[in-house]
């Protein structure tokens, strides 16, 4: 009788209800406390932040108004959007088509290319950025051009990881796609480019877009490449906020509230996009990992 009166547990629930609740509660607290503190600080007057007040005397929304100018947030967001936008579009076009070819066609050196695509994703970014910096300095010197500090210098550097990433994600998406449609088009006498443009593109476009979005997000979160290669006219949001922090820490009353407000604003769109698209990203990575 006792078992009947209790709600039957779903057999797929491996954890018991008590364990499940405890684990969930601990995790949620661990996640939410720092995030709420972030929001709390962004609404606390700076003088109270630096004296360690946890509950502000009044909610101060002024940070959200002042942050746009003093921190370089606005120009940072503009620069980041432009740089990451160009990077991901380039990676999507070049890497997307390559991803299709690599997935469908056998050619000599295919195995090496695939393995190096994986390798390039894992190579520390400074390994490529230092030489790029070196080459750009000498181009600057020889041709009397300004290279470092332009958008393009950062775009080139971001392509070192986003090009292999996009190619790999598109490739593993195409891998899991049946060839039926392409076969049918081929029987109808369609040429190679027609098949690519009319048949493959409409099906694979979402995957390419998602891959490009993740290339965008990776660039948005980067600090080291941007620190090396940007100048005042191309500082990304990460660089702008980091130098703001370093300046503030020397001051008497550091504008931590402003920093927190700016961090929240620069994180919000990225977090939103990531949460919305994570399923596609993971299925891309998992698709490549689970096969074999």
């Amino acid at each position: 009788m006792m078992t009947l009166s209790r709600r039957r547990q779903d057999p797929a629930e491996v954890l018991g209800p008590v364990t499940r609740t405890i684990v969930m509660a601990v995790l949620l607290l661990a996640i939410l406390i720092p995030l709420l503190y972030m929001v709390d600080m962004s609404l606390t007057p700076d003088t109270e932040v630096s004296s360690g007040v946890l509950i502000p005397s009044h909610l101060d929304i002024a940070h959200y108004a002042t942050m746009w100018k003093g921190t370089g947030l606005l120009t940072g967001i503009e620069h980041s959007a432009l740089i990451c936008g160009i990077t991901s579009i380039l990676a999507m076009i070049v890497g997307g088509t390559a991803g299709y070819v690599v997935a469908r066609l056998p050619f000599r050196g295919r195995g090496i290319l695939l393995n190096s695509l994986l390798g390039f994703q894992a190579v520390p970014v400074l390994m490529t950025v230092l030489p790029l910096f070196m080459v750009m300095v000498s181009i600057q010197n020889a041709l009397r051009l300004v290279v470092i500090g332009t958008y393009w210098s950062v775009v080139i550097a971001y392509l070192t990881f986003s090009l292999p990433l996009v190619t790999w994600l598109v490739k593993s998406y195409i891998d899991n796609l049946a060839t039926d449609l392409e076969d049918a088009a081929r029987l109808d006498g369609a040429g190679a480019l027609t098949i690519l443009w009319r048949v493959v593109l409409p099906v694979a476009a979402p995957a390419a877009v998602v891959a490009a979005v993740f290339a965008f997000l990776t660039g948005w979160g980067d600090l080291v490449v941007a620190t090396v290669l940007t100048g005042p006219s191309s500082d990304t949001v990460a660089v702008a906020l980091n130098s703001f922090l370093q300046v503030q820490e020397g001051g008497a009353v550091p504008a931590y509230g402003t920093l927190m407000a700016a961090s929240i604003i620069s994180a919000l769109p990225v977090v939103f996009v990531f949460v919305a698209l994570q399923r596609y990203f993971i299925s891309g990575l998992v698709g490549s990992a689970a096969k074999g």
């Binding site: 491996v14 995030l35 070049v94 066609l105 970014v125």
Partner: protein
Amino acid sequence: MVPTAVVQARSQRRAARRSKKRRPSLYYRDLRPLLYLLLPFVILLLIVDIAPLVLGVISSLLRLNIKTLKSWTSAPFAAGTNYHNAVAGHGGLTLSGLEATWQTVEFAVLATVIALPIGVLAALTVSHRRSRATTVVRAIYILPVAMPLFSTAFVWRMILFPHSGLFDQLRGHLGFGKSSNHLLIGGHSFATLVVVDVWFAWGFIYLFALAGMQAIGHELYEAAEIDGARAWQKFRYIVAPALGRLMVVAVVLSTLNHYNNFTLPYVLFGASPPSSVITVPVATYLAGFSLFNFGLADAVAVVGLVGIVVPLLIYVWLAGGTRIKEQRG
């Protein structure tokens, strides 16, 4: 106790493998013109990845400082000086390249080992129930890993800041004494780095684990239930086998991510971090842009590659592969 479930799981996996093999391969002569599409890709890859890597290795053998950098093609050959300095920790380095490498390996492995059970446990709490509440919990679970790393580092610097930070304030309120100066400088900074890293990095493992768990058929759990399986047995005989390979990839990938993480140590501990948190990327950056010895920086980076050779090879071996060839053979 649960042979039915085990057998079912095995046959499910075998069937999946078989259906993959039966997929028709596409090898059409008339598609060969598409190979020209690889040309721009390969050229770009050459410019952004291959050439810089080769150049990096070459320049690790040159005497490259702020003066010789502008005409690096005629920079003096330094033979093994940079490597000697990188390994021995001379030439102004705070830490020898080997120490930095070892420390980074410790950090990457420790962070992954701690994040793994958290990620898997988290996935278990939400894997098989679909309700509005779980949807919200799932979204919250990935907030830390979705945040840009610099934001995460800012918040944690605020939290751990001596006196004014949340950590010290709570300590004070709970009566544990007030200050903990050693979190961001000195003794405990390595532990701080690991803890903050785990705070966001378990989400990566969690996403992989959740994807793996959702691919498990419900009938396996039902069979296990009928056989009277307990929680641990369900995990051991149903969940673990289904996750196996996926978790290996997740673990290797997240180890590599930790190893190459520059932003977290650099922002969390400021521009001149204590030596116990100087990881390979930070050491490379400092050699390049605070000592302005670019040859040395490249040498440090090359020495640091030693630490990722093994995980990198495992990753390429597991995730890589030449599918078309496999099917033809």
